[in-house]
Symmetry: C2
Subunit: 445 residues, 2 copies
């Protein structure tokens, strides 16, 4: 599953930075709602009594001698006209899972969630899932066709699309197969591989509704859209018209700049809340139709095998899900004491209503702090105060979304879906912290 | 002022995509509030009557022959473990303004605002302003000291900071000298050079308030902070304690990953709403004091020269400001017809309340569409429907922020501030569209 040498840009090696009294209080009381308010509303006040453990300067050989960068002239501006990460972050990259697919052109690379912060994924670390490799398209030669049940078929150049009214919105993008290996007894080691087919960007583009109206969509008969890509696989997917007219975009922008080639440059379909395969990359055509096409990419793939032997097809909304990204599998807690447990929550049906964390394998749940702005069909970051004294611990998170739906346990999910699925696993994830501080992926129930 | 060969990733070359009736309506009525509601609430309905101008497929030689990327196997996943922009976007880079400073280590590179979308700046295109060049700091050797009027001075390692509670927030960062050349009669050609010392990111870090409380700040005497960088210039700035305790962060994260080296890796001070020079990069020390330090970096620089010969020092809040980024100087409108005029608005004192656009040099103003989420001390994207029939046009935008403050005209600003300033120019920007479609920077009043 790739080299796990550097799962953290810095190993988690906490000393307690809270006073013994506060540690005892947290252990005794948990983070109840009063305490949460205290922390959110007035961090300063809440920590006024905190003791002081850090290293004193004079005791630290690393800072007695000034480092070279403090004694020299640095590099000029535009040394990198397009900037790059620090060389000290060279291990924070997308990683492939060798052997997962027959060729590297139809494979997956995973986002290093364990190393990321906030709600935006850097475009350079956005996960990849291709069906016939990725391509460098010349935007001057790229076209978008609108055809099918429309009054007049249209073909747009990129120039024409770029001068139309646009919208920008932050959304998550999750592959339907994300967390797929967890259906079986294969507990892959890290959150990069369990949940790393998940990224989020600010996307910019033209509303699909505007393009369809311009072509004169036949509102009486139209039920679905076919989205088709310009790569060698001519990737095709059926999109419900309801989703398309609601908030779908023909997007050219990602995190403020043009899309990256491996993410569909110069054009991809954005269907917020829907599984990633429907966000067709290198988009060249939208055909309006009256029934699903059952193309090769949707008849054989992205189908859920149910316990009674039937297939569930066109299941496309990514249900509410959450995961703790740190501490997570492959990391090691080097010392006892305080940790800010952090992770991500999301729902394809709306916003995150609340996130809860359990440190005892699901017997007790306490609310996590949820970070704003909480946006629809976007990632939401959460944090939870935790003090580890060396005991074996089962860490879990659970999200409830704005529809009232709560993320299921693994046992609950399997009860409904069986174990023959590949796609749409949104079960609660469990990380076991051993008494040696090592964190492992375990499957409960 | 650098090569302007590629001011747009695609030249703006619109044909009208609105019907003649709708064009006439927009010209006659402008975009009044009813029309705005129509567009925002129901884009589909508003454009149902639109005529159909686009190229038909059979007439377009570029799409008769399928391009190579549609007939081949593409590149494998993790061809780039850390992804890069398309080679077709190679001209979208930060650009230096040669001769602006004596050495390239104390210079500026500007963000290509004319090519960007949404509210996030890609980290690779974040502007640079260094005082002694940028450096690659080894995070294992970096320390942050808290000293001065505190009970116990502290020194933190990066590991210690990374395990503390953090917050992530989207904020703009603007150099106090942004738009500085416009004080004189130097109308630089493009928005990259007039306004490109402006970027915005999602920053992640530890609240300064938490660190100060932990060190036991002397609340009776403390009035200011000194922030000090670890580069060769030992950059130092006085920060008001009020700003520091309000929403300032000791940040390690930018747009989901660790800060870029030229933006302060591994640690920079984030002081939302305050001019960029106070966001000290490579932050190594915060000293609590009872009066401003008047260090070399604040006594001689970032001082406003007033008309009466006095100096205005420690002026630090970036007042409300906006600018149209497309069409903008150096771009050319190749055809008559519809344009979505777009730009950015921001305020160091809160949120954007409204943005107005004038197409007649400021005689008439009409509301622009403002894109959400509208966040405090962040960039807000606006758009405005405009039909150009070849007439010479003066394009302007004006923001009003949540305090009720409205962006001043150039004449109003000079009336108060004179013309001897370098810093804090937030005047309304004017772009003149000539009858040949070329867009130039002009100074009114």
């Amino acid at each position: 599953m790739g080299t796990e040498a550097d799962q953290g840009h810095l190993q988690l090696a906490p000393e307690s930075f809270l006073s013994t009294d506060l540690i005892n209080e947290i252990q005794r009381e948990g983070i109840d709602s009063g305490r949460r308010t205290l922390i959110r509303g007035a961090i300063a006040a809440a920590t006024a009594a905190i003791a002081v453990p850090s290293v004193r300067a004079a005791d630290d050989p690393d800072i007695v001698n000034l480092p070279s960068w403090t004694r020299s002239l640095g590099k000029p501006v535009v040394a990198n006209p397009y900037g790059q990460p620090s060389p000290f972050e060279a291990n924070i990259v997308r990683r492939q899972s060798p052997g997962l697919t027959r060729t590297d052109q139809s494979s997956v690379s995973f986002t290093p969630l364990q190393n990321l912060f906030g709600m935006i994924t850097p475009s350079g670390l956005h996960f990849e899932r291709h069906h016939q490799g990725w391509v460098d398209i010349d935007p001057r030669r790229h076209r978008l066709m609108i055809n099918g049940l429309v009054k007049t078929p249209l073909v747009f150049t990129m120039e024409e699309l770029l001068r139309m009214p646009s919208v920008s919105r932050i959304h998550f993008l999750e592959c339907g197969a994300n967390t797929g290996l967890e259906w079986g007894n294969v507990a892959v080691p890290t959150v990069q591989y369990t949940h790393g087919m998940l990224s989020a960007s600010e996307f910019t583009g033209v509303p699909v509704s505007l393009l369809l109206e311009r072509a004169g969509i036949d509102r009486q008969r139209a039920k679905v859209l076919l989205a088709e890509g310009a790569d060698g696989s001519s990737m095709t997917r059926t999109i419900n018209l309801e989703n398309a007219l609601d908030d779908a975009l023909v997007a050219y922008g990602q995190n403020g700049e043009m899309l990256r080639p491996e993410n569909g440059y110069p054009l991809r379909l954005v269907v917020p809340g829907v599984q990633g395969v429907s966000w067709v990359k290198w988009l060249r055509r939208l055909e309006v139709g009256d029934e699903p096409w059952a193309t090769k990419d949707e008849a054989a793939h992205y189908v859920d095998m149910m316990p009674d032997g039937t297939h569930r097809q066109y299941t496309s909304i990514q249900e509410a899900k959450s995961v703790i990204t740190a501490p997570s599998g492959g990391q090691k807690l080097l010392k006892h004491g305080y940790y800010s447990v952090t992770g991500l929550a999301w729902s394809g049906r709306g916003t995150v209503e609340k996130v809860e964390v359990s440190v005892d394998g699901g017997r007790n749940w306490r609310p996590a702090r949820v970070e704003g702005p909480v946006l629809p069909k976007a990632l939401t970051r959460f944090q939870y105060d935790w003090v580890w004294q060396g005991e074996e611990t089962l860490l879990q998170s659970r999200v409830t979304d704005s529809t009232g739906y709560a993320q299921p346990s693994r046992a609950e999910l399997i009860g409904v879906r069986g174990t023959r699925s590949i796609y749409h696993n949104n079960a609660i994830q469990t990380w076991r912290v051993g008494s040696d501080g090592e964190v492992h992926n375990v499957q409960l129930g």
